[in-house]
């Protein structure tokens, strides 16, 4: 039986201590498989970004466990977690998080170099997201949709099997947002990646294979 790309069991996360403690996640059991795009939806403060950060090895849970491609994260050092992120995951952020001083191609080359890949792959990656003509453009010279596609191309550097996206369409108009979501869906379906998208956007839900709703730190059926 194939193991899920991402899996959590009884996952809980509490921020702070004592009277100021806030329970962001409460005993969450979650799975995401290769080849599917999964939308994680819920109101603001429901815990969806916290779940994404835990899946992305960026936080240590208060309780419960996370597995990435079958490997338990418990006990891994920060260095090992960073290596796991670098080799197996790609991140897409709401505000793109591109390096403003670098061109589109160079933004991708940073990721390629970190992953020990050929810098020339930047051309192909930008071509794959339909930006072959924007290699030498700086982020300030790109539209919001183009920036997000550059961010997706950067996330694809090194061919990671898992993509984690945080509100990737929040800053985009409806047409551009739809294009980006279709691109993410294609990356899941055609290339067999596990794509987890945190979103408020119902269009994402429409195109996702599965929608997981979260409220007050708990998954809802």
């Amino acid at each position: 039986m194939t193991r899920p790309a991402l899996e959590t069991r009884d996952l809980s996360m509490v921020y702070g201590t004592g009277d100021t403690a806030v329970r962001a996640l409460d005993a969450v059991d979650f799975q995401a498989s290769a080849g599917e795009i999964l939308a994680l939806m819920g109101p603001s403060g429901s815990g969806k970004t916290t779940l994404l950060m835990l899946l992305g090895c960026l936080l240590h849970p208060t309780a419960g466990a996370v597995w990435v491609e079958g490997q338990p994260l418990a006990g891994l050092s920060n260095h090992a977690l960073a290596q796991l992120r670098l080799r197996r995951m790609g991140f897409i952020f709401q505000s793109y998080n591109l390096f403003p001083a670098l061109t589109a191609a160079e933004n991708i080359q940073v990721a390629l170099e970190l992953k020990g890949r050929d810098l020339g792959e930047a051309t192909e990656l930008l071509d794959r997201v339909g930006l072959a003509g924007r290699l030498r453009n700086y982020p300030r010279q790109l539209s919001g949709g183009e920036k997000q596609r550059v961010a997706i191309a950067r996330a694809l550097a090194g061919d990671p099997p898992i993509l984690l996206a945080d509100e990737p369409t929040a800053a985009l108009d409806s047409v551009t947002g739809r294009t980006v979501v279709k691109l993410l869906a294609d990356l899941a379906h055609a290339q067999g990646r596990a794509v987890v998208v945190v979103t408020h956007d119902p269009r994402v839900g429409e195109l996702a294979d599965r929608v997981v709703r979260i409220e007050d730190g708990r998954l809802r059926p």
Binding site: A82, N97, A105, D118, E121, A122
Partner: protein, 414 residues
Amino acid sequence: MGDYAPNIARFSDLRSFAFICGPIVLNKMKRGRSHWGAGMAGLLAWRNLAHDRSRFVVTLVGIIFAVVLIAMQIGLFLGFSDSTTTIIRHTNADFWIVAKGSQNFEVTLPINERELYLARSVPGVAQAEALLVQFTLWKKPDGGNESVIVLGSNLNTGLAGPWHIVEGQLEDLRRPDAVMIDRVFLDKLGVSTVGTRVEINGRRAIVVGFTQGIRSFTTSPWVFASYRNAQYLSGFAEDATNYVIGRLHPDADPARVRDALAQILPRTDVYLSEQFATRTRDYWMFTTGAGASVLISAVLGLLVGVVIVAQVLYATTVDHLPEFGTLSAMGAPRAFIYKVILGQAVISATLGGLPGIAVSMIIAKGSESTAAAILVPPWLVAPLYGITLAMCILASVASIRKAMSIDPAMVFQR
């Protein structure tokens, strides 16, 4: 694979970056392959700095200022140090005989001229002669007095005397009452042309020539004269002098001859030239505290430089904190972030340090015509660059700590 040659190989990017990071990195980038080390980290460092040109210019001006400050303090120290021994180093003497207990060249007690004849009798001594060095008063033509040091030497042997004569001839010093002074002190001594008549120690003298660049650590100008003229002008007793200097036979053992001289001249101290120069320099630079104060100023200059550079590098890092957070979230090794920040320090040190050193050398050149020499010799360029580099790297420590303190989860919370 696409045909896109990595953008970092473009000339506009490389013109400064390649200059800094050298051909190895350049070749790596041109090939489009590189480990995660130098290439993209170096490019990111360069672009982070150059992206905001106004700030970068301010950064470079700050570093130039710091480097000039440090170079000036070191240059002053070297200038002072040099001027304490300038006369000793420009004599052709192998040994110096001075009154017992003399601490430095300028201030000594008289010794009897008899010591000169005794010195000449010591085996290994090829030549010995008296040298007179005496503080006295110079009356300016338009009134007012200045303290000067009269230096009288034997003009026939060339063991000591003025050098860098730019107006007049050495032979002119044979004329009665003739003296030479340095151009640096013309204003101070109220002299504008050769032929000016002055009064030294109440006796008439005439300026017959000028030297160039012979400074005095004590700020009292040197007045060069023949030995007999100096004796007359300073009122020194005829049977006294204050130095006996000389040369050794080529095959003589300097240490043995020195010991022999010391034995036969018990009322004096005998030094080889380098020993006497060191003794004089150490006295003025360290015993009096003058050198220490200049050294402290140099250290303070360094600290000010570190603070300036730290401030600007820190501000640059803070501006780019989200990017460091993004790198951390992506899983970039700490070394990559170190390299970006240290790369910024190296680039800043190079682009700010080299112009700063050039400005310092220009200022030092300009100081040649002043009484306070600032020496920035070519050999100082590498140490100054090293200091600048160390200063910038030290200054980047705070930036590294800041960048490393970022929680990579922050990138999801923006």
